[in-house]
Structures are given as structure tokens and as C-alpha cells.
């Protein structure tokens, strides 16, 4: 079971990296959503995947039955899912607003913050100080 999940994590990670490397903001956002699911799956498998007993403590006992499943990774995942959900919602709005204002989804064409090419030729003269 662990081997299957390990391969699945690998395939998902590769797909999300592929998506994130595309020159398209929408695909990038989808890639980020996928990569956060991959991380969740990884945490899930870190708790062990054998068909174990539920982590319940029988009456009169102080510890769960030996070999019980570890419930903590699922609690961690739950937190991570909630966080990635809200971040994903934010990202969708950000991508949409960016598309509206900059009228492109190609990150290479977004040069509002770093308008480098136009200035590149003139840097040298100013860097030398006032002549």
C-alpha cells in the first residue's frame, strides 16, 4: 500500500511541477492546488497505511489497543487542507484581478513591477555618477 501511495505522490508532484512551469497563470494556480494535495497525501502516508485498529481507548484502559492507527497525521492534514483551501480561494481572485488589470495570463508578459528591458541600456551612464 505504501509503495502505491509513494508512486502516486511522485506522479502528482511531477504533474504539478509540469503545470506550474507552463507560461499560464491559470495553469500555475491549478498546479499549486495540486501540489498542496500532494503534500497532504505525503503526510497521510507518514502515519502508516496498514489496516489497523481505530485509535480508541477501551473502558478501564489508559492506552489505545496496541497497533492502533496514528490519528495525528490526519489532524495535521485537516489543518493543511483548510489552509490550502483559503489560500487557493485568494489565489483565484488574485489571478482573476491580475488578468483584468494586466490583460494577460502570461507571466512573461507581465512587466509592470519590473520593467527591465526598456531601462537596461541606460543603467551604465547613471551608475557612473554625475558627470
Amino acid at each position: 500500500m505504501e509503495a502505491v501511495i509513494a508512486v502516486l505522490v511522485g506522479v502528482l508532484m511531477a504533474s504539478s511541477v509540469y503545470l506550474m512551469l507552463r507560461r499560464n497563470l491559470v495553469r500555475f494556480v491549478l498546479g499549486l492546488a495540486l501540489i498542496s494535495h500532494t503534500a497532504n497525501l505525503l503526510i497521510f502516508s507518514s502515519g502508516g497505511l496498514q489496516g489497523r485498529f481505530p485509535p480508541l481507548i477501551s473502558p478501564g484502559e489508559l492506552e489505545p489497543v496496541p497497533g492502533a492507527a496514528n490519528a495525528l497525521p490526519q489532524a495535521l492534514m485537516l489543518t493543511a487542507i483548510v489552509i490550502s483551501f483559503s489560500v487557493f480561494a485568494f489565489l483565484l481572485v488574485l489571478a482573476f484581478r491580475t488578468y483584468q488589470r494586466l490583460e494577460t495570463v502570461d507571466p512573461d508578459a507581465m512587466r509592470s513591477a519590473e520593467p527591465v528591458p526598456a531601462e537596461a541600456g541606460t543603467n551604465g551612464s547613471v551608475a557612473g555618477g554625475p558627470q
Binding site: 502515519g47 497525521p73 488574485l94 513591477a113 547613471v126 554625475p130
Partner: protein
Amino acid sequence: MSWLLAGAIVLPLACGVLGLSLRPQRAMQQWVSLVAGIGHLGIATALLVTVWTDGILVVQVGGWPAPFGITLVADHFSSAMVLITAIMGVATIVYALCDIDQRSLVKDFHPPLQALIGAVCGAFLTGDIFNLYVWFEVMLIASLALLISGGRKAQLDGAVRYAALSLVATTLLLSGIGLLYGMTGTLNMADLHLRVQQVENQGLLSVVAILFIVAFGIKAAVFPLFFWLPASYHTPKVAVSAIFAGLLTKVGVYSMIRVFTLIFTHDVGYTHGILLWTAGLTMVTGVLGAASHNELRRILSFHIISQIGYMVLGLALFTPLALVGAVFYILHHIIVKANLFFVAGAAERLSGSSDLKTLGGVYREQPLLAALFFVPAFSLAGLPPLSGFWAKLLVIKASLASQQYWIAAVALAVGLLTMYSMTKIWVNGFWKARPASTAKPAALSRLNRALLLGPIICLAAITLAIGLWPGPLYDLAERAGHELMAPSNYVEAVLGPSETAALGAGAEVVE
């Protein structure tokens, strides 16, 4: 005293929530934020004093004993960072009273700012590695809200880059935490210190360590993971840029130092060797990037990257003196760097430009501002007797003591190039006559001028005080550095003496 620890996190977060409910009344929002900021400064001061007199302070949240519950820990390093955060918070709030006034298009500033301060303090004070991840996410959302508020094109463009790389970083951090939990079965950092020694597959541990280096490296903006920083830091309002420049990357460095002194010390030659190369390349690329730009805030953004190199260098050398240097460097740098952004913003408001080609005449028209620029700028370059000189001296002395002569040479050369960059700003922006094409902006009212220059004067005074009397800060950094190098005190404070002895004995048997 446990309320001090919780208060440092809860007060700013509560104020952020209150600020959101006061959204229509922007004047009220400002005053609530200012009062909370001053209160936070009080709590942070009391926290540092308590830690200084009584030693490491620990709170088990909800009464669950470590390692099962979430632990909050304040040692000398983290409480000093909380105090610096609180100082930066007050300075930013005061500066923003003029920079982001009630007519500004930036409608939401104070609530996310308070959330950011709360999250940063949370990251400094937590003793639980998953909790650290959660604080990173809170910090990310708060900083994104600050970054895009106003909605200019450049801001959205910068925010896309910032969000993209930061989210990859937090995902890698989450994966690293998952793998680490799978190997050790614990999330408490003190407990992790003991348990990683019992992990059989030390090679796998190094892989996880690399995941942490990449994740914190993106957050700290080290080479080659820094591209989000110069793309985004110059786009929002100056008050926002300044608090980002002061705090955010330093949280990454802080976490890196915490994790690589407390948890991943199994193969120092490998992990810290990578960090050493990273530190050298970060210093050089940052300062060269700065030399190629002409816009004030973009120059300063690249200098953040180059200075991060010095801090990582302190960690990479991994000697007591080097860690003392790293702690000293971080504390001095936060104040200096945020102050430089404040000065850049004030120069833009008072002289009408932030580009070296169109800026000019600041020295003649605003002599006070020019003098105030001099203090942080040449402290950054490491000129005695300013604070940066002592910070650089400690780090370079540590690298000489470790016989890493090449990195000491790099650090010195980068200091010289920083000086070149600051001189370029001085000559082009402050000294030369105002270009005829640049119109002089309308004069600010006396109150607004005081609100802009007040925080700059206070931070410059702190820089000067550290430079002239480095003793107290050095003592603090020394205590923090020695605590970091000998984590047994930290572990004992969190887990209690008996637990530590039992597990320590277990570790010896396994070895």
C-alpha cells in the same frame, strides 16, 4: 508570567479582528492600532526582561504536557526578536499615519498589519514545528493582503510572483514536516532534538534537511531562490515595504537558525557546507543586483538579499562566535533596513521622486533627512562606529577563526560594494542638483513631516546607540548564541529534567 508569551501573539491578532470590525471608521482603526502597538511593545519589553533575569520561559498551551500539546518557548533569541518586531510595529504604525492617511486608496492597512505582527511573533515563540508552518501561512496571507491593497498594476504583478514562490515554500515545508513526523513520531522541536539522534536512516534525514533549507531559503530570499523579493518589495506603499524589508525575510533566517541548531545537527559538514556556499553566493549576487539598479527601493531590496548572506554565514560556520554574530547581525539589520525604506519613502514624499535619475537636491533642501540617511546607509555598509561595523566584525572574525579565509574575503568585498551602492545613492539622489524636469511636490504640513521623520529619527538613534555602546546588545547576542549552540537548556526547559535524562540515556544506548 505565562500571559506574557500568549499576550505577545494574542494582542496583535485580537487588534486585527477589532480593526476589521471598525472598517468604516478609519480614524478609529488607526488609533486602536497605535494603542495596541504600544501595548505590544510593553509586553515584548517585559518578556525580554523576564527571560534575561529568569532564563527560558515555557508555556504548555491548554495545560497539555510537552511533547503532546503545543508549546510556546521564549529564549533569549526569540524574545529579542519579539521586542524588535514590536519596535518595528510601532514605527510602521506611526509612519503610516502620514504615508497611508485616511484619504489613501489603501483601505485595509492596520488589520492585516496587526495580523502580520501577531503571526511573526507566533513564529518566533512557537516550540512546535507544525505550529511554525501554520504561523508561516498566517504571515503569508496577511502579507499578501498588505501587498495588493491599493490594487495598482505593479502591485498585482509583484503579488503574483510573491504568492507563487511563497506557496511553493510552504508546501515544501509541509512535506518536510510530514516526512520528519513519519521518521520520529513527534512535532515538538525539543523532543525532535532528542529523537532525530535515534533515527537509523541518517541519509533520509539529510534529504528532509534539504527540504527545510529550500523552504526557509525561499522565505529568507537566499541565492538562487530570491527572485520574488526584488519583484514585489518596491510595489506597495512605503510603510508596507519597510515592515516587509525589516521582518519577513528575517523570520525565514530565524527559522533556519532554530531548525539547524536544534534539529538537523547530525551531519554538519554536509548541511552547513551547503549553507556556507549559499551564504557566499547570496552576498555577491545581492550586492551586484543592487549595483545595477537606479530606483531607491529596488536598490535597497537587493541589499536585503546581500545582507541575508551574512546572517546565513553566521549559521553556516556553526561556532559559538559565528552564531553570536548572526544574532547580532539580525537584530541590527532589521532596524537599519526598515529605516532605509522609511528614508526612501520620505525622500520621495519631500522631493518628488525615488529614481536616482530624477531625484536630486535632497541635501540642499532637506538637510535633516540627508543626515538621517547617512546613519542607516553607512551602518549597512559597516562603517565604524555604526552598528553594522560590529555585526560585520563578529561574522568576519568568526570566519577567520574557522579558517574560512575565502568567505571572509567575500564578506569584506561585499561590504565595499555596499559602500559603493550607498555612495551612489548619496551622490545621485542627495548631492547633485535637482534635475529641472522634476517638479517639487507641495510642502507637507508640519504634523505630517513629524510623522514621517519621527520614526526615522528614533530608529537612527537606536542604530547610533548600538554603534557607540555595543556592550548590552553583544551580551544579549552572546547569551542567545550560546543557548543556540548548547540546546540542552532549551530541551530541559521544555520537556522537564526527568524526561530529558530518560530519553538521553535511551539515545546513548542506541548509539
